[in-house]
Amino acid sequence: MSTPRFLIFGFVALVLQGALSQLGLPVVVLPQLMLLVVIGAAFSGSTVPGVISAFLLGIVLDLSSAVLVGPWAGAFVTVYAGLALVSQRLFLESGLVAAFVALVAAIVAGTFFALLSPHSDLAALEHVVQIFGQAAVTAALAPWLVAVVAKPGQRRMATSVRNSSSLSAA
């Protein structure tokens, strides 16, 4: 995915996420739309500009809270790098895989943020519920939103490269 496309999707996700929050949606069921953009970008093929864009999106999300800079940036980079490591072993076309990846990624990102931020406490049940609740909602939306974000051509290419690699190995 091209860097401008990635950043535009990220900005739209930020606005929508803010709007959902403003509508009074309980934080437990607030989907991590920006994280889905990061997952979609990683599914399209992991690149150095991609990981830098993930970092920048995290910084923007951090800045939108005006308190601490860094936790979301670190969480997004971790998720992007993690997906870069495993994406070739995943059947990216499957919605179930996208949902599972989003579930794990949202738990990892939420935990990462909770560990670094003074606004959360992993010992508090409220925050553990929040991490898992948000992860479940994010996972439920993943099959559709990741498909919109990830460029189909690139996803197919990634799959075909993986298949050709498997054939060569065989």
Binding site: F11, L14, V15, Q17, G18, A19, S21, Q22, L23, G24, V27, L30, Q32, M34, S46, T47, V48, G50, V51, I52, F55, G58, I59, V60, L61, D62, L63, S64, S65, A66, V67, L68, V69, G70, P71, A73, G74, V77, T78, Y80, A81, A84, L85, Q88, F113, A114, L116, S117, P118, H119, S120, D121, A124, E126, H127, Q134, V161, S164, S165, S168
Partner: protein
């Protein structure tokens, strides 16, 4: 075969670059986190840019939401009318829409009147503002208001409603400001219990409201006691209502009792607020204040 192997090698080296960059950026994020926790002005300055960029979209979505709810109310009210009365339905729909929007304006008017009355009764002059956004991540209990430095709103000012205190301004741009709510875990307010004058620090506890910290076990507090600002933190004017004591427990270990406080104001759902107090940079009692 060689081409395939070369391709795989290239992919591995590309992946290595991504991982290497990610590790470097992860280190940067740790350093930024550590630095910004000691220097909050970094986040405040950066958030000005983000706030200015996002605020117009937030306001537009808010307007769209109002329009949608008006259209929905029209639809609901007309669902039983027969198709022959189409023209009448349209007129009725328009009237219903107008009524809905007038009713909304009326409610907003009432809230603003209450805000003005509170401002004059409490003797606190301030800037009236509307809440136009909240924290998108859901982890920080914050709000975005539509008044900034051009209206006299600045960092360190208190944000209140007639029902009670909402929070304080932590970042301000010319047209918007970010508010950290009193229910956020990193928020603290110097508070006193009105009846017994027992002092403590009101700390945010997320969804469960707030906790009054550092109250010794022998302090005379009872359920329903009103907790107000002490004014000693130089952020919140003295005597503003924070909340009421909702639960008490002295059974735990340590010197202090656990005091849960239910905020008087609905901090998550406030729509019109008043920003009061003196900006930090103009406060002569703060070292370095009044120098900017």
């Amino acid at each position: 075969m060689a081409r395939v192997l070369l391709g795989i090698t290239d992919r591995f080296s590309a992946r290595g670059q991504v991982i290497g960059t990610a590790i470097a950026l992860l280190c940067v994020s740790f350093l930024l986190t550590a630095y910004s926790s000691r220097h909050p002005e970094v986040a405040q300055v950066g958030s000005v840019v983000v706030g200015e960029a996002v605020a117009p979209f937030g306001s537009a979505l808010e307007a769209a939401k109002d329009g949608t709810s008006a259209a929905w109310s029209r639809y609901v009210h007309l669902s039983g009318v027969s198709i022959e009365n189409d023209q009448l339905k349209q007129r009725l729909a328009r009237a219903e829409g107008d009524l809905a929007s007038m009713s909304e304006i009326g409610r907003e008017n009432a809230r603003l009147r209450e805000l003005l009355r509170f401002s004059s009764e409490a003797g606190v002059a301030g800037v009236a503002a509307s809440v136009v956004g909240s924290d998108p991540s859901g982890w920080v209990r914050g709000a975005l208001i539509n008044r900034g430095t051009s209206s006299g709103v600045d960092i360190g000012m208190a944000v209140v409603t007639p029902q009670g205190v909402i929070g304080q301004v932590v970042a301000a741009s010319p047209d918007t400001a970010r508010v950290l709510l009193i229910t956020d875990h990193s928020s603290g307010v110097d508070a006193i219990v009105q009846s017994s004058r027992v002092r403590g620090v009101l700390q945010g506890a997320g969804a469960s409201g707030c906790e009054l910290r550092f109250v010794t076990k022998d302090a005379a507090i009872k359920l329903g006691d009103l907790v107000v600002t002490s004014g000693l933190d130089r952020v919140y004017p003295k005597g503003l209502v924070l909340g009421t004591v909702a639960a008490l427990s002295s059974s735990g270990p340590g010197l202090f009792q656990a005091v849960s406080v239910k905020p008087s104001a609905d901090v998550q759902r406030a729509e019109e607020v008043l920003v009061v107090g003196v900006p930090k940079h103009l406060d002569p009692s703060i070292p370095g204040g009044a120098s900017r």
